[in-house]
């Protein structure tokens, strides 16, 4: 079957504006969704995991989903709106710790009155936690109205270090545990407690699917065009009636909201118990690399980048092993650095829009194949 749009005439603009206007792409999407929602649970049910056990679920699929979500969050801000941020870790942390506080009850005695919120169920806690993250995102986005590029990156870096410090030093956030580490309460959703890896996986999958769809809708709508216009040529954008304040701060808010959800999932669903270290500057860079490698300004790219960054260390570990070449753990982690670094340099030079663009150029060639024009 050729990859063609020939013969697939769009009867309306609505059809032409579907997420995947080409039938083959739509089929591919359904296959992926079916695999994710049906095949994986079946594999788990019959315990026929390749490589045995639930390793793939725990160590690859769950972190892949959550980090993809974080990458979508950063992509909204950096890829679509063009505001470089090194503070992803901080926004994830705010999501995680706020969710924790809402789950365990908030009690703030003030001079005149006391703010007291009883412990809330997990789902509203996550959404409220993400809202906190969005709020802080807006605050740290305000400098973006004055400063750009690297200077803005430094401002977001400041956010990263500030919140690293806050969550280590301000014991209130960790409910005064002696170790500074916190454990997530039970994951109860609508009366159902999520415990097994497959349930955790499905939980993440639902979150990621919903947010990916919402994000995709946003970026191909009016606000998405405002973000991209601001990214590509802010002066021209303003001359067309796009308010920089609204465009930038909405990107900061939505981006931090999504990263806040990702942070909460990372803490509650993937880690279960965590320390502030889980959201340090390394996490920020990891997510930035995912976005750069996967594709700035592409939702699909967020998934590709997350998959690559997660799978690379495993491949570098397993492949030499399978070939009978023993490689030490240190060498593997060194190799990961080298390969990631080299790849980023290569991409920045050859294809700054990352894997996603390579993918779409490939498709374009395929569409014309076998005639180059």
């Amino acid at each position: 079957m050729f990859y063609r749009e020939t013969g697939q005439f769009k009867s309306s603009y609505a059809a032409d504006m579907a997420i995947f206007p080409i039938r083959q792409d739509r089929i591919a999407l359904w296959v992926v969704l079916a695999a994710a929602f049906v095949a994986v649970p079946l594999l788990d049910f019959f315990q026929v995991w390749p490589f045995g056990g639930e390793y793939i679920l725990r160590a690859i699929l769950i972190p892949f989903l959550i980090l993809s979500l974080a990458a979508i969050g950063l992509n909204i801000l950096t890829g679509y709106c063009g505001q470089l941020s090194l503070g992803s870790g901080a926004f994830m942390a705010i999501g995680a710790y706020s969710t924790y506080k809402f789950c365990t009850g908030v009690h703030i005695p003030l001079e005149l009155f006391t703010i007291s919120i009883p412990p809330l169920p997990v789902l509203p806690s996550i959404l409220l936690g993400a809202l906190m993250s969005a709020f802080v995102g807006i605050l740290f986005g305000i400098p973006s109205l004055r400063i750009k590029g690297l200077y803005l990156a430094v401002a977001t870096l400041a956010a990263q270090f500030f919140f690293d410090w806050v969550f280590i030093r301000v014991k209130w956030f960790t409910n005064y545990t002696s170790s500074g580490s916190v454990a997530a309460p039970d994951l109860v959703f609508f009366g159902f407690t999520v415990t097994t890896p497959i349930h955790r996986y499905l939980l993440c999958l639902v979150f990621v699917s919903i947010f990916a769809l919402l994000a995709k809708n946003l970026v191909r709508g009016n606000i998405g065009r405002q973000w991209m216009a601001t990214r590509d040529m802010d002066i021209a954008a303003e001359l067309m009636g796009i308010r920089p304040l609204y465009a930038k701060l909405s990107a900061f808010a939505l981006s931090s909201f999504v990263m806040g959800v990702a942070g909460a999932l990372w803490a509650f669903v993937y880690l279960g118990a965590w320390e502030p270290l889980a959201f340090n500057i390394d996490r920020s860079f990891q997510i930035l690399f995912m976005v750069i490698i996967g594709g700035l300004g592409s939702i699909l790219g967020s998934f590709l980048g997350a998959a690559f960054i997660l799978v690379l260390p495993i491949l570098l570990d397993q492949v030499p092993h399978a070939l009978g070449v023993p490689v030490s753990v240190e060498t593997v982690s060194l190799l990961v650095f080298v390969v990631t670094g080299a790849l980023i340099c290569w991409l920045l030079i050859v294809e700054p829009r990352g894997f996603a663009r390579l993918w779409s150029t490939g498709k374009e060639k395929l569409r014309l194949w076998p005639y180059p024009y």
Binding site: A14, N222, R225, M228, D232, M233, A237, I242
Partner: protein
């Protein structure tokens, strides 16, 4: 500080008037004491040698530069200092001397971006993209497709603009400005760097826009032939000063203009 909405201006009346406007950058006087007006429905050319202050004049009109002196009256109301997006709100659109498209976006998205101010659905609707949000998107897509047909750029609608040749980029940029359905359209050298054929196409588009939609146009152009053909009235700037103002024929025979263009020492 919104753009004045004012009463509707009928054809032939003054849409915008510039009174005694001066703008300087540090020591450089880009515009000094210039006055002229633009009437509803006309094509008004602004000409002059390089560095005459033409682009600065457009930048003043759409609120990007704020003149140190002078009064700008738009639709009958003296205009306060305003931001560019307020000018856009008030119905002023423009294209740029050096193409200023959104390079990472397709031609279609660039033109759709011109509809921003006309789209009303908030972010939550856009996120869901169903019902009224989708209907709005489709409705504006229709308008944009009309513009695409008008400019004959159907084949390139899905092409990222950075890959388009210069002439087509200029055309897409015109499309983006038209998508705003402006009352006053500012065109900064829309034909610079084009060959004869492209210039003829562009001239036709400009005349058609003016004819069909009654859009008032202020046009900066170097090619005197084009200016003669297109414009109703011409204002001539040199070194930031207005040296002539009138019909193309009046201006053409004006001695000061001939001197300025031939580079006679002042």
């Amino acid at each position: 500080m919104r753009a004045p909405d004012g009463p509707p201006v009928t054809a032939g009346d003054v849409l915008l008037s510039i009174d005694n406007v001066s703008l300087s950058f540090g020591g450089v006087k880009a515009v000094s004491g210039v006055s002229f007006d633009i009437r509803k429905g006309e094509i008004r050319a602004i000409i002059g040698p390089n560095g005459a202050g033409k682009t600065s004049m457009l930048n003043i009109i759409n609120g990007f530069y704020h003149p140190q002196e002078g009064v700008i009256t738009y639709k009958g109301e003296a205009r306060a200092k305003m931001r560019p997006h307020d000018a856009a709100d008030g119905g002023i659109a423009r294209t740029f001397q050096n193409v200023a498209l959104f390079r990472g976006m397709t031609a279609l998205d660039n033109i759709m971006a011109g509809r921003t101010l006309k789209m009303r659905r908030n972010m939550f609707w856009q996120m869901l993209r169903v019902g009224p949000a989708l209907a709005e998107e489709v409705e504006h897509r229709h308008r944009v497709e009309e513009i695409i047909d008008f400019l004959k750029i159907q084949e390139i609608r899905r092409t990222p603009v950075s890959r388009l040749p210069y002439g087509l980029q200029k055309r897409v940029e015109l499309g983006r400005a038209l998508a705003m359905e402006p009352e006053l359209l500012l065109l900064d050298e829309p034909m610079a760097g084009m060959n004869i054929e492209e210039k003829e196409d562009m001239s036709r588009f400009i005349l058609d826009v003016n004819d069909h939609y009654g859009t008032t146009i202020a046009l900066i152009e170097h090619d005197m032939g084009v200016v003669m053909d297109l414009s109703d009235r011409v204002v001539v700037l040199d070194h930031g000063i207005k040296i002539a103002d009138g019909t193309p024929n009046e201006v053409k025979s004006n001695q000061a203009v001939i001197d300025a263009y031939l580079g006679v020492a002042h």
